[in-house]
Symmetry: C2
Subunit: 161 residues, 2 copies
């Protein structure tokens, strides 16, 4: 695994996200890393992240698939250009669509592992395949389409707030 | 709209969910109601529910589609049997799959409206179509497949925790 998480390379204006922003004190602050051709993120759900007693809330799992997926898309974009994530021009990805299949209930208690790999790169779109493993059992499968957003559009979005 | 929210009929062991459980003090405690053939939920995102400055975190939007969808599935199940949600036998639904398309960024600030309607009922599966509207603009579309879980299975899940 690389030493610095994907999310630690995000510029400040992209670092407020509730799921993955290092500057959001109330958020999940997930950290994703390469692990060979796959990427990996470990997350400890809190007791209140509950669905029914004993099991993790599906909305949290969808959120983790979302942010680990966009992080992996960003890292894959830089990797495809064979350059580090702190080099210019910056690559920004937003989620266009998210699909999550809940294969079985995810036990609440252990650290959960979110894994991803790049399924397809097509123009500005990157499709990411993901899965969540707890205690060696895959409980969730997901797919995310991330779209590279021109920096100018990010600036416009930020100026409209 | 009906006066009592779908979620207020959930039995206690189904009322801890981070998204929709009335007994989860840390959670979103969403409230969903019938509005004719559609269901509706209003939600006020908090300032920390941010994606990039000025816009709502996509993981939260996925979570709202999830819980409003399962709530609508439950209500539709009772409605199909022409009985109130506090009558026996209890109907329990869990999310089998969730799909969310982010059509455009959702502004952070206003109350957001999550709407749903039943697309298909097929055996124990109910497919729910959803959309999120802010300031009159539809920013998200979603689809959820909910599966009716036998009460015995819910009891088994609860006893395994």
């Amino acid at each position: 695994m690389t030493e610095k998480a994907f999310q630690d390379f995000y510029p400040d204006h992209m670092a407020h996200c509730y799921g993955c922003g290092r500057l959001n004190d109330m958020g999940h602050q997930i950290k994703s890393y390469w692990d060979g051709e796959e990427s990996v993120c470990h997350f400890q759900p809190k007791p209140h992240h509950i669905a029914i007693p004993g099991y993790v809330y599906g909305g949290l799992l969808a959120s983790l698939v979302d942010c680990h997926g966009t992080g992996t898309a960003a890292a894959a974009g830089y990797r495809a250009e064979n350059r580090a994530m702190d080099t210019e021009p910056a690559l920004r990805y937003l989620t266009a669509s998210l699909h999550v299949d809940y294969l079985k209930p995810t036990p609440l208690g252990p650290v959960i592992e979110i894994r991803a790999k790049v399924k397809e790169v097509k123009g500005r779109k990157i499709t990411i395949e993901e899965w969540i493993v707890v205690n060696g059992v895959t409980t969730v499968k997901g797919e995310l389409v991330a779209v590279q957003v021109p920096d100018q559009m990010v600036q416009e979005l930020l100026s409209q707030k």
